[in-house]
Symmetry: D2
Subunit: 365 residues, 4 copies
């Protein structure tokens, strides 16, 4: 991975700023012959787009995605696919304060130090609006995966919001609430907590879990493109993410070897595991169990509470960030995490074809 491109074989290059005319991505390495159209992609865009509930930014973007290349008569051609999303609600305002001051917890200061200048309008390139392009690319990946791996299912949820967390994974009800909470009994409490937080002009962090069922065994390229390595990189590249876990994650440190190793039995269709502490990955290669990835999203730093900072000229000041910000950016990170999971799985599916040239080791008769 380098710069603005991710993926080995299914390569996505994103471009665009929060308040520029448009943003988008080039999807390179998509196999030919797959049915794709704008409606299919829009389905996923709508899950991430702003303005969907009172718990997310009130910026109004249609996030309408256009396919400019790489699809002919409804099918992919195997050439580069250009996806473009025009920005329509870049609110015109005075950016004077933000242009001269660095918001604590933002990329303002590091972009300035690295590049010597920055597009301060809405965070420019460092804005989470960049993730719209990822969701579009993820839509392409899902269409391909539907062809190549029937039965694959990728699902995400917010499993922790601040100090509130749940162990339930009621996947069928996740989309019934605006918080992507997988525990229907917890939704009311979580909403109340978030309402209170907004009134206090504050924000809160979250943990997102992405689950992929139906992934074939054998995906992952040891040693430095292990499946978990690439998933960790993919999730850590999402704005505001500070930690990534596979399976037991950080809690693996607390386990004993006799507890942690998932025992193996033989089932009618192949190996069956007694547990899934590994999160579906051993030695960097998928086992065929569910992939389980979690990531922590820090609370948005764009809050109305005044915070100490400095200006470009070195003078000290206090700043509050007005604007239309998410009190819990974790909510909209769920479809982004799903999109990254789809891209990484497809990437490794294609990579594996090159690596092993069709080899698969049998177990049993």
């Amino acid at each position: 991975m380098s710069y603005n491109t991710f993926g080995h074989m299914f390569r996505v290059t994103t471009w665009g700023e929060s308040h520029g005319p448009a943003l988008g991505c080039t999807v390179d390495g998509c196999p030919p012959g797959v049915a794709i159209n704008e409606e299919m992609l829009q389905h996923w865009m709508d899950q991430r787009k702003p303005g969907g509930s009172k718990y997310v930014t009130q910026r109004r973007e249609a996030d309408a995605v256009r396919i400019l290349s790489g699809v002919f008569e409804g099918r992919t051609t195997g050439t580069s696919i250009q996806l473009m999303i025009e920005n329509t609600d870049q609110r015109s305002k005075d950016y004077g304060e933000i242009a001269q001051s660095f918001r604590p917890g933002h990329a303002d200061i590091t972009y300035h130090q690295k590049y010597g200048l920055r597009d301060y309008r809405g965070g420019g390139r460092s804005s989470a609006r960049e993730t719209a392009a990822r969701v579009a690319a993820g839509g392409v990946a899902r269409a391909v995966l539907a062809d190549l791996v029937p039965g694959l299912r990728i699902r995400g949820a917010m499993v922790q919001m601040g100090t509130l967390r749940t162990d339930r994974r009621d996947w069928d009800t996740v989309r019934d609430n605006p918080l992507w909470c997988p525990d229907p009994d917890a939704v009311a409490d979580w909403e109340a907590a978030l309402d209170a937080l907004r009134k206090e002009h504050d924000s809160v962090g979250a943990v997102i879990e992405i689950n992929a069922a139906g992934v074939p065994a054998g995906l992952g390229a040891p040693v430095y493109a292990k499946l978990d390595t690439d998933l960790a990189a993919a999730m850590m590249s999402i704005n505001a993410v500070k930690g990534v876990e596979i399976g037991e994650g950080m809690a693996a440190a607390t386990l004993r070897g006799s507890e942690n190793a998932d025992e193996i039995r033989m089932g009618p269709d192949g190996p069956v595991y007694g547990s899934n502490h590994a999160g579906g990955i051993l030695g960097g290669i998928s086992t065929g169990q569910e992939l389980v990835v979690r990531f922590a999203v820090k609370p948005t730093s764009s809050i109305l509470t005044p915070r100490k900072t400095i200006r470009v000229d070195g003078t000290e000041t206090e700043i509050i960030t007005k604007g239309r910000h998410d009190p819990c950016v974790g909510i909209r990170a769920v479809p982004v995490g799903e999109a990254m999971m789809a891209c990484v799985i497809l990437d490794h599916l294609l990579l594996d074809r090159a690596q092993t040239a069709g080899v698969r080791g049998a177990i049993g008769g």
Copy 2:
């Protein structure tokens, strides 16, 4: 990253199996003119090598590193550096059981499924012996960094072992104990716990923290080669790692925005931060604060307690793993984590030269 290579500009390609004749790596992209010799590298090799205390594997390897290319009259030439470590203590034994059975929690089964065959001797390529090559490469990186970033200091410690953890970071005493524990008051308890565990034929996980002080601001290549993205990938690629955290890590989920964003003041030499929840990285770019990375290592699955598993032919069995295994592989992961940190920092230092072509944004007069 792909296959057996990591890094963008400082590229390390590792090779070799646990019980083959040798292992090593090619270091490509090392700047010319840097003083390097085998003794300098051996210093770091000795920190990771087996047999150092009763708490690590009793395999006896000198881990003597040879420089075969890329260094002329004591200085790097800018061409590819080959580092080779011969294996000397590949104990000859009957691998019959392991050759036919998959150890639970190991890469045995996934390598078989992916590649159709595997080098079962000591885990072959999936063995943690691969990390010896990383430590050698890390030694090269440290030599270059000593030239380019005087004052840079990379230090690692085991900050949690099973359920025992410490918040102390007494860096000066870390190497005084065989557990890389940064809390001198805790060492005796941790050693006692580990002794008990070995008697129970079990193993335990750990959390390792790597700290880098003196890293210049401005390193990191948004969006998909962010400094934290690359650190996450680097650490997750180490054997047995299941989670990676930057700064607050997973705990960032529990914080409020008003708590989490590090306030900024102006000091005599530039920006000064009131805290370091960010772990030294904002928007994927270093702030100049200490880089703080943690990763969780699962307990080794190679234990003497019998575990249910299957054979290649699909029949079920129980297995115990004899051999010379680490009761807490986290211990020897500390120098590996340090090496990866050194490689990633140097990689981004070189990458930044290309990216920004010398630009740096000033703050203040």
Copy 3:
């Protein structure tokens, strides 16, 4: 290089088909702070655009380039730059014959065999219209080079058309004729020959020479990203190119060692060479002399003379290619070759910063 991206550090990803709504490219790795605007890019676009003289395709495209990202207040930000060119003159017509038949000498048949389907409208992705995106990217590269290497001058010419060739390099008059011919005395003859050819419904090949003066010594990354390696790849990737030469090129085979090696003297500003058989590159690294690259462009296969071919269903047929095609595609390849030269030089300038970390070997006192 892979897929639709070229370059190591200055990375250009192109997208778009001949008859799709638009085409363009993402330029990644452009240093920050460089002044760029659409007018600057348009200057180069206009040199390649169709309809410029009677000797090139009569398709009417404004080839207006838009900057959609990566530039803020007139300066590059160091983030990905999106350049888009809308197609406006995709003539609506019946593609029935071309959809079912493979034009000899075209990519029709190989795209079909590889991808199973193809965008047959005007050649789709295999059309030379793709090179418009390269010229746009080359415009960005030139703007950066103007900052980093004052005095650098990149010039191209058609030095052979069919069997007519010239050894003159009167660079100042090249743009005074529509054939990019560097020999003012030859222009009339060449034009007459091309007029005759058009009347015969035929086409002809050409040799293009690209010359870069003022390139600093030391660019090139041995062994597999040598400057000549990358130039060869860059030029060979242009549509219809069948051969690439550096310096003496194929004629180097006929020389003796005593003739070929360029002798070195010491001048007031450094080494001075008595000749330039090497074309400015030794061991894959620039010497500081003029870079001299030539490439052969085959005659366009889209001619009105009937040719034997087959249809997708395997039946045999004859085909003539109507449409607005260039009788000598070499003409419009000149600005494309210049653009590729600019991109490769900048790419290596940035790469060298990372590789050598600022080292340069002095010669003399």
Copy 4:
């Protein structure tokens, strides 16, 4: 391609200097399960090794290749393969003159300018000894290709030596003479010419042709990893190469469209072409015809004739290059070109599996 690695999926990283202890390469991306042993590789090494006839360098190297990793019980494991060749005949001598002076036509001066220092012993990294590692890697590629593409045949010949050239391609007799000349009637003349040249203390250039028959249609990744692009880069990366041609090559410039486009008929097994001006590649993708690649090798600059040059200190001098040099380095470039052809074909075969995910377009029935 970057630095010391070539290939997209079948990646070869070479290391080592002419007079260091050893040289070799890491082959990454080799599919698992392929039978490989040292004898198979040695067969190819012996074709390139020095000392084979009076027409090549008299340096005596066994060029014995050792497999240090990636092969288990005689089969590839899918992990990185390390191949090492020890240098045994690094003649100890006084390098004083070469250490201080730059040989005209060599990389001495550019390595000095770029890196600030160089391994002057025998050319160090810039020596053609590096190509030994390529031939070893090519041996691995050939073993894999023998499995994946039965019937594939790669053959090389020296088709021009100085001004002597032949149009005959009597492949069966090529190995019957030490010059790899494909024209048995010309051998005696060529040998006489080379004998005369050696007596005159001079050297001469050559053109090498590499032919691959049995390559399947559909290989090549437009736009920037076209099969011809990658072949051009592969050949141009070989020491002393100054030009590369595909099919008609530079002569394509002299042809008319009505002559150049290869007409297509339908044969019993698919398309049949009436000619092969294209050299087996259209639009960057293989047609299934023979791949035909030629490259020009300049005469070695290491000759006994005195030449003007400068020293590191800037003073002027004359130099003659003693030592054991090839009067026509083109001879030993033939097996190197074959090796590169094998690597590129395998690389694209693997890449195509990822790109198209198994798609192939049918023609006919």
